[in-house]
């Protein structure tokens, strides 16, 4: 299992692995929004949590189809399925690798990029906390979507259509918790909801994704 994690991480930093792609995309989205909305600091600060959350979500989506598709194409998914690694564990590890390569850098960068949106002091902290709680769910739900579409040629678009609606609850509660925290209001309810979604998807979706993979490998 650790070997699989190390291999996925190593692949992601080699040429064409896509490390930093999501981060660069996130930065560009954050920079583009002030161009579109205008430079008023109050408006930008007010919409910042929502924009940062949507940006992080789209950046996460960008690399989802790589989770299983590349392994499927070169045949290593077949070999992995016959190896002494439970499919559920392999799915969870691959989602973890995706989070380490995509979700974690986004979480660490969001407070920084918040500055580009005139975000004020407690907001940075809450962006970090909500993304830290929410992005694992994005990777896990995404891995499930990737498992469903793994055998399809150009399944990336279908994957987006499948996964984006499933991201809605995480987005609503995550952005709400960040916005409330920034305004100095109580936000423990949406925070707990985000944490609950993450815990639930990490607990259940590896089984669903493994079942989907087994059917797709037949």
């Amino acid at each position: 299992m650790i070997a699989l994690l190390m291999r996925d991480l190593r692949l992601s930093v080699r040429a064409g692995g896509g490390f930093g792609l999501g981060l660069a995309f996130f930065l560009i989205v954050t920079v583009l929004v002030p161009f579109g909305v205008g430079p008023e600091a109050e408006i930008l600060a007010r919409i910042a949590p929502g924009i940062l959350w949507v940006g992080a979500l789209l950046a996460c989506l960008l690399s989802l189809d790589r989770i299983f598709q590349l392994d499927f194409e070169d045949g290593s998914l077949d070999l992995l399925a016959t190896a002494p690694v439970p499919m559920e564990g392999a799915v969870a590890i691959k989602a973890l690798a995706h989070w380490l390569v995509t979700g974690l850098p986004l979480t660490l960068a969001a407070p920084l990029f918040g500055g580009l949106m005139s975000m004020q002091a407690p907001g940075h902290w809450w962006m970090f906390v909500t993304l830290l709680l929410g992005t694992p769910a994005l990777s896990m739900i995404g891995a499930f979507g990737a498992a469903l579409t793994v055998g399809l040629k150009r399944g990336g678009l279908l994957l987006s259509l499948l996964v984006l609606p499933l991201y809605v609850p995480t987005l609503i509660f995550g952005a709400e918790a960040a916005a409330r925290g920034m305004a100095g209001l109580a936000n423990s309810t949406p925070l707990l909801m985000v944490a609950g979604i993450t815990a639930g998807s990490v607990a259940l979706l590896p089984f669903a994704a493994a079942a989907a993979l087994r059917i797709n490998l037949r």
Partner: protein, 207 residues
């Protein structure tokens, strides 16, 4: 340790390709599968490897004994030969890759990225993976594709050593490997594709 198959029916895309197949493979034996293209050799091997369920019949084999070598080698182009092989060695919990590298004549290529290997060299690396699995029963699908004569000899030596060591191998191939092997021609077991289409297709559409 014995792989035993009785009354096996395997299907591809819901259409049965082989039916009523029965054979057994004991330690120290090699069984070569023959049959024209599309006769179901790959489907049979995938079913035995556990990648798809059989439509009917019994497969009995001890758990954790199968190493499956597919058409695709499952190599990562960005990783070196050592890294590729080391990954599988660690997945199977064996860890020693030096013997496999030297037996497949890959030592001089060990730091080369897999992207820069020739087709035959990739194949040799894919076959070296079998040596690091430590599994007794090898299921091989066209293992000699794109290998030159010398490499086919190397591979045949590996199979001989594996079998002498108490292993067994089931090999689907079109060429003569020069092994002492039983030959199983699957042609007599080919299923009539039209007979079961009506009942099989419905389930598959919803799975």
């Amino acid at each position: 340790m014995e792989l035993r198959v009785e009354g096996l029916t395997v299907a591809r895309g819901g259409v049965p390709v082989l039916e009523g197949l029965g054979f057994s493979l004991k330690a120290g034996e090699v069984l070569v599968l023959r049959g024209p293209n599309g006769s179901g050799k790959t489907t049979l091997l995938r079913t035995l490897a556990g990648l798809q369920p059989p439509q009917a019949g019994e497969i009995s084999l001890p758990p954790e004994t199968i190493a499956y070598g597919a058409h695709a080698d499952g190599l990562k182009a960005q990783l070196t030969v050592t890294e590729n092989l080391m990954f599988w060695a660690r997945v199977y919990g064996t860890g020693d890759i030096d013997a496999a590298l030297s037996r497949m004549n890959l030592v001089s290529l060990r730091d080369r990225p897999a992207a820069n290997l020739s087709a035959g060299q990739k194949r040799r690396l894919g076959l070296a993976r079998l040596l690091v699995t430590g599994r007794p029963i090898w299921l091989l699908d066209e293992p000699t594709v794109s290998l030159d004569t010398a490499s086919v000899g190397l591979f045949a030596d590996c199979v001989r050593a594996h079998v002498a060591d108490g292993g067994a191998a089931l090999i689907a191939t079109h060429i003569d490997l020069g092994l002492e092997a039983e030959i199983l021609d699957v042609t007599p077991f080919r299923a009539d594709p039209d007979a079961a289409r009506v009942q099989g297709a419905f389930d598959e559409a919803f799975l």
